[in-house]
Amino acid sequence: MGVLLVVFAAGIAGLVYSSFERGASLYLDLLRDAGIRAVLIRTIVISAVTTLICAVLGYPLALFLARSRNRNLWLVLVISPWLVSIVVRTFGWMVLLGSRGVVNATLQAIGAVGPPLRILFTPTAVVLGLVHIFLPFMVIAILSSLLQMDKRLEEASQILGGSRWQTFRCVTLPLSVPGLMGGCSLVLLMATGSIVTPLLLGGLRDRMLGTQIYSEIFQVFNFQRASAMAVILLFVALLMVAPLRFAEGRIRKRLGAT
């Protein structure tokens, strides 16, 4: 039975390899296309910003969960959106951010803006949606790292006169870096490959690589171009994640050794 799985996994690897063999001209054409370059850069920027926001917001939440007494209760709140379809969650954001949505209605009611703000169908909306979808993954990755940590180290730091901030900066944060890195690489990978959220929240002008691939297949029916883009996407994603993975491995080894 294990063989079956290995065959499938090898099939994927083989496919990626074979799409490289279709000749480099397709790739050169794609990379020369200014529109595609813009999409590529947008994909990288949106995924990087999403990952950064997830890390900055996810860390305090994970810290709170790690120290909370009724952790399981909060954990349910954190993972509850995770188990509901991405489509449904994205849809929730469409309702919230639309020109007649809650956010605009509130802003208009307090007189902050005159005509409704255009939030839906902008990169901001895409980042917001992606952060919402991927935050639970980040929180759980950091949380498991925090839970593995020896609590006595923090106590020792405080007893030795370290302030709360010093303890965090010199003890807690360095010890949880593997979880943080793991979470970042997971979110980065998922963000670069997302299709549904950018399609629904981003509109037609602000395409990402995933949405570009989708429309290349279903609107233009250009399979070769789409698979070349998929390989580029794969390459970009791995290139972005590789340094994180490498750093994670190094730090893990160092933590294990001491």
């Binding site: 188990l83 509901v84 309702v95 919230l96 994670e248």
Partner: protein
């Protein structure tokens, strides 16, 4: 150690932020109007009647549920086989095989969608339910394998050896000793695989054909053309259903399994 006020404020804000869109969807589903809005101008069950009255939605739901259940059972069986086979394999073979099983996690889903599509076109299975099913097996595999391998790690293997010494056949040792002991891992694997398969949209939207579609893909394509509260109603039904699954998951294995699994994956 006490948490600082800043951490508490950020955590509280996020604990409101995370479930917020779900509450909006639930609220909007009771709207009587044909344009989606929140807060709803009134209360009505009109859109629930529409959902339950239209065969298309019921069929899409049944398709997704069917693929999900079968994919969960088959993936769990395959993962159990793989975990048992790899347990005694030499470390080098074991770690490279595990890398292959976990590989679907390492690829962006948009790229996987294309990869499966071209695989299935070669096999002439594109647009068929079997094609979607096969790709769901691959996508669920890592989520089924990890909890099973984790439980297998935790149990005492000398118990099944004892069973064999006491005269059990190796088949009996597996079915009446090993499998009952692996129950937490197996049920987590079943639940995860079902949820992943039932929910999968990014890869599946490349693979559905004109004759059938899965529920998430149908919701997506409905949303792309119109934004009436039908989607809110069906989403609410799904939210209620998944909450039920979370409750069962908590009862059977405890939610700690989520954290344990992350540790295992990176450990």
């Amino acid at each position: 150690m006490k948490t600082s006020p800043t951490v508490r404020i950020v955590a509280a804000a996020l604990l409101i932020f995370l479930p917020a869109p779900l509450l909006i969807v639930i609220g909007a589903s009771f709207s009587p109007g044909s344009i989606l809005s929140f807060p709803p101008p009134g209360l009505s069950l009109r859109w629930y009647r529409t959902v339950l009255g239209e065969d298309d939605w019921i069929i899409a739901f049944a398709t997704s549920a069917g693929i999900g259940v079968v994919a969960a059972v088959v993936t769990t069986l395959i993962a159990l086989g793989a975990a048992l086979a790899l347990e005694r394999a030499p470390p080098r073979i074991r770690s490279s095989a595990e890398l292959l099983i976990l590989a679907p996690l390492l690829f962006p889903h948009a790229a996987l969608g294309i990869a499966f599509l071209s695989c299935l076109v070669t096999l002439r299975l594109n647009g068929s339910m079997l094609g979607v099913f096969i790709s769901h097996l691959v996508l669920c595999a890592p989520f089924a394998y990890r909890p099973i391998a984790l439980s297998l790690n935790q149990i005492d293997r000398s118990i099944s050896e004892a069973a064999m010494i006491l005269g059990a056949s190796s088949r009996q040792a597996v079915t009446s000793v090993l499998i009952p002991m692996l129950r937490p891992g197996l049920s987590a694997a079943l639940m995860f695989s079902f949820i992943i398969s039932f929910d999968e949209v990014t890869v599946t939207m490349f693979l559905v054909g004109p004759e059938f579609t899965t529920l998430p893909v149908k919701i997506y394509s409905h949303l792309a053309d119109s934004a009436d509260p039908v989607v809110a109603a069906i989403s609410t039904i799904l939210i209620v259903m998944t909450s039920g699954i979370i409750l069962i998951l908590d009862r059977v294995v405890g939610l700690g399994i989520f954290v344990d699994i992350e540790e295992d994956a990176r450990g």
